[in-house]
């Protein structure tokens, strides 16, 4: 009898503890000095993420109407207007790039919108023989903003743009980008922002975990795809300037800077409470200074290095690569903090798999 009641007592209390362990997400935070991750996430969504998508959406809308204007009355001046509004849209895409979270991840937004370098052979074959589906694997590198960049900037004369099926290819690609962005934008404005905010844990599927991982992923794309590859750092030092982003408009440098600003802005949540404030709240140090300040300082020095380059990243690489190399090592200095110190201090996980805590 004694034995049975003891057994039931133990199994019972075990189940009680186990079940309380399963309700991890209950938002019954005590008030007090505890840092509210949920507030940080809400502010990040309101101050950074939704505005980034909104302005990209607005610029795509402008691009679309300028395109309609050009279509109805093709002229060199309308072509210039169209080109400018494209460059504007390409710039406002950049802060969206690191937000490959939730709806954007489901839509593979970055992949659809901005995969470069462009496969021009595939584009030209599409232009001459037609295309069924821009989503097919053969068009992986032949779509999105890089395709628009090619169509608009391969020639300064608007007449080429009106030839073959270029107008249609432009339209289909603009539709693809707009469609994808609309899905993501609508999701954030219809509930995902709240879902994002209440998913306030620190495991790999939590919003903070996703942000840290995607912020890193995008930053490494900047370092590798936008800088290292064109510099020739993956090809024994043989420069590959033709692999830069926005090769035809030559807007690579500005886009790079906008991308850097976008990643930083995600980190600081604009004027609001961001990961930087959370790190401060945790008392995260880098030597004697706050880790958040060290990270912001390195962001600023990356931006400064990028800004000091000549207007064309491509010709800078061709003519004076040493300054781009300096940018690359500055980027690398920042990756170290973003990839080791930051996640380590935040205690976020990078995988669902079991660990030993090492």
């Amino acid at each position: 009898m004694m034995f049975r009641s003891a057994l039931f007592f133990i199994l019972g209390s075990a189940m009680l503890v186990a079940s309380s362990g399963c309700t991890d997400n209950t938002p019954d935070q005590p008030s007090g000095s505890t840092f509210e991750r949920e507030d940080m996430l809400r502010e990040t969504a309101q101050n950074v993420i939704i505005p980034a998508y909104s302005s990209f959406k607005a610029d795509l809308g402008q691009l679309s109407s300028d395109f309609a204007q050009f279509e109805s009355s093709p002229s060199q001046s309308n072509f210039e207007v169209l080109r400018n509004s494209f460059l504007q849209a390409y710039q406002s895409w950049q802060p969206c790039s690191p937000i490959e979270i939730g709806p954007a991840a489901e839509q593979s937004l970055r992949f659809s919108v901005n995969t470069f370098p462009l496969d021009t052979a595939q584009v030209n074959s599409n232009l001459s023989t037609g295309w069924d589906n821009l989503y097919s694997a053969q068009n992986n590198d032949a779509k999105g903003l890089p395709a628009l960049d090619y169509l608009l900037f391969i020639s300064d004369d608007f007449n080429l743009f009106t030839q073959d099926s270029r107008i249609q290819y432009f339209k289909d690609n603009l539709d693809l980008v707009t469609e994808k962005l609309d899905i993501v934008y609508n999701a954030w404005n219809n509930g995902y922002a709240e879902e994002f905010a209440v998913n306030s844990g620190t495991d790999v599927g939590s919003s903070l975990g996703l942000m840290v991982n995607e912020l890193n992923f995008d930053f490494e794309l900047i370092k590798n795809a936008k800088v290292a590859i064109p510099l020739g750092l993956k090809t024994l030092g043989v420069a590959q300037p033709e692999t830069v982003e926005a090769l035809y408009s030559d807007a690579s440098k500005d886009l790079l800077i906008q991308n850097l600003k976008g990643v930083k802005n995600l980190f600081v949540a604009g004027e609001g409470t961001g990961i930087d404030d959370y790190l401060d709240n945790l008392g995260a140090k880098y030597g004697s200074e706050n880790l958040s300040n060290a990270i912001i300082a390195r962001f600023e020095s990356c931006e400064a290095k990028a800004a000091s380059l000549g207007p064309s990243l491509k010709s800078q690489i061709e003519n004076k690569p040493s300054e781009v190399e300096a940018l690359h090592s500055e980027l690398q200095n920042l990756v170290v903090l973003l990839k080791t110190d930051m996640p380590s201090q935040l205690g976020v996980q990078i995988t669902y798999q079991d660990n030993d805590g090492d």
Binding site: R4, C22, N25, P30, S200, A228, Y286, D341, N355, G357
Partner: protein, 448 residues
């Protein structure tokens, strides 16, 4: 006073009831079966073994072959079935051998996924091959494959108690270090990240809580084996076992380990307890009336088990022969029951140089999964293996790869990241092994 000879005889050769082993077999087999199903359902067979192009190895086990895709599924199927074989004592000899080989073989294929509890499972399943756990209430007895026995030599139970007790005790010993006890690291990082934990979560922001957990964990690990050995405090100890493991399970991503330990520590209870437990679940009527069986362990086997015990005590302590901070260089770290002791993260920029000194900067994501990259960036033997892999890869690409160097930065327990290895070392010229790696930069002790 008993003499040493009598004590040894009592602990090894005396005959005792088989009941604790029946429970152990059942619990271990079923928990293993559940673990394997969980692993499979989570898609980890594909994620951990099939998707990666490259697998990190254990020194000395490079020969363990990587399998074809179906081979991994077959190995896990074998594991699942043989786990059930162990649980129910069905075709026990074959089941226990198959389980040990399949489980250990899979672990040896990629060291990225090393977990202390996988090592524990390998050791226990190895021991189980030689223990007479299937001689009662088993399919084998029912089928007449083995003769039923209700007693076994005490050694077959005590060796399991030893193994379990050792895990706890050494885990406790490993917690006696400055970071853990004087700085509450890494719990002071991990606990605040869990401040949404029900009821007690709001206390996690305070460093005092981290200190309480650190010291509590150390005391628990060091003393729990001895508490479980006493008759008087055993129930209290077992309640602590359950509480401790369920709390750590709900706080950290440690998988099935808590359930393995909660199940396995039942072995410390008396034969009487296990007889009642087995009757409680009414497996089948069984005559527990004690009768001495013939001696089970042959002399060579007894010698082998003594060797096993000695190795188990010595091997985890091998780190003392390496200079410097163990948590930093990790030489002699694995197989040492060091759990939850380090928050470590790293970043490694590899550069492959050709004969003319021209460089290729490696993007690790081209070759490694995120987990592999994380593990590689902080573990010196992985750095060497990856360097060899890269050199071979680029030579196959017709690049005259010569040296492989890396800028590696590591942060340990909240310290600022610092350079981990000499960036001028040609890692591809280094051989994996137990020799002290002199190209590791010394740990910068910035606090006591």
């Amino acid at each position: 006073m008993m003499g040493i000879r009598q004590t040894i005889h009592k602990l090894t050769s005396n005959h005792v009831s088989i009941a604790p082993l029946v429970t152990f077999r059942l619990v271990f087999g079923l928990v293993m079966f559940a673990s394997i199903l969980r692993f499979w359902m989570n898609g980890w067979i594909e994620e951990q073994y099939i998707i990666p192009d490259f697998h990190f190895k254990y020194f000395g086990f490079y020969w363990v072959p990587e399998l074809a895709d179906w081979g991994y599924y077959l190995a896990f199927a074998v594991m699942a079935l043989s786990a059930l074989g162990i649980a129910f004592g069905a075709f026990y000899r074959v089941s226990s051998v198959l389980f040990f080989i399949a489980f250990t073989g899979i672990e040896l294929i990629d060291a990225t996924y090393y977990l202390n509890h996988y090592y524990f499972v390998s050791l226990v399943s190895f021991l189980l091959i030689f223990l007479p756990v299937h001689k009662a209430l088993s399919v084998d007895v029912r089928l007449g494959l083995v003769k039923a026995a209700n007693s076994v030599p005490a050694l077959s139970i005590n060796i399991l108690k030893f193994q379990l007790g050792l895990v706890y005790f050494l885990a406790g010993l490993a917690k006696i270090n400055a970071d853990w006890l004087l700085h509450a690291m890494p719990l002071a990082i991990w606990l605040p990240a869990q401040d949404d934990f029900p009821i007690i979560g709001s206390f996690f922001q305070y460093k005092l809580t981290a200190f309480a957990f650190s010291w509590g964990g150390m005391v628990y690990d060091l003393f729990i084996p001895f508490v479980l050995l006493t008759k008087r405090f055993r129930w209290m100890g077992y309640a602590a076992v359950i509480g401790f493991h369920l709390i750590t399970w709900s706080l950290f991503q440690i998988g099935m380990f808590p359930f393995i330990m909660i199940g396995a520590t039942l072995i410390f209870f008396s034969p009487n307890f296990h007889q009642r437990l087995n009757s409680f679940f009414r497996v089948e009527p069984f005559d527990w009336n004690f009768s001495a069986a013939s001696s089970y362990f042959s002399k060579p086997l007894r010698v082998a088990l003594v060797m096993f015990v000695l190795v188990q005590v010595a091997f985890p302590l091998r780190h003392i022969v390496y200079p410097g901070n163990l948590f930093w260089h990790e030489q002699g770290y694995r197989f040492g029951w060091r759990v939850m002791l380090a928050e470590k993260a790293g970043y490694a920029q590899f550069k492959v140089e050709d004969k003319e000194g021209r460089k290729i900067y490696v993007d690790n994501r081209d070759f490694l999964t995120p987990v592999q990259e994380k593990m590689m960036s902080t573990q010196p033997d992985f750095l060497i293996q990856y360097a060899h892999f890269l050199k071979k890869h680029y030579i196959n690409q017709n690049i005259n790869a010569d040296a492989v160097k890396a800028d590696v930065f590591v942060t340990l327990n909240g310290r600022p990241s610092t350079q981990f290895i000499d960036p001028n070392t040609d890692l591809a010229a280094q051989e994996d092994g137990w020799v002290n790696k002199t190209w590791l930069l010394p740990f910068k002790a910035d606090r006591i």
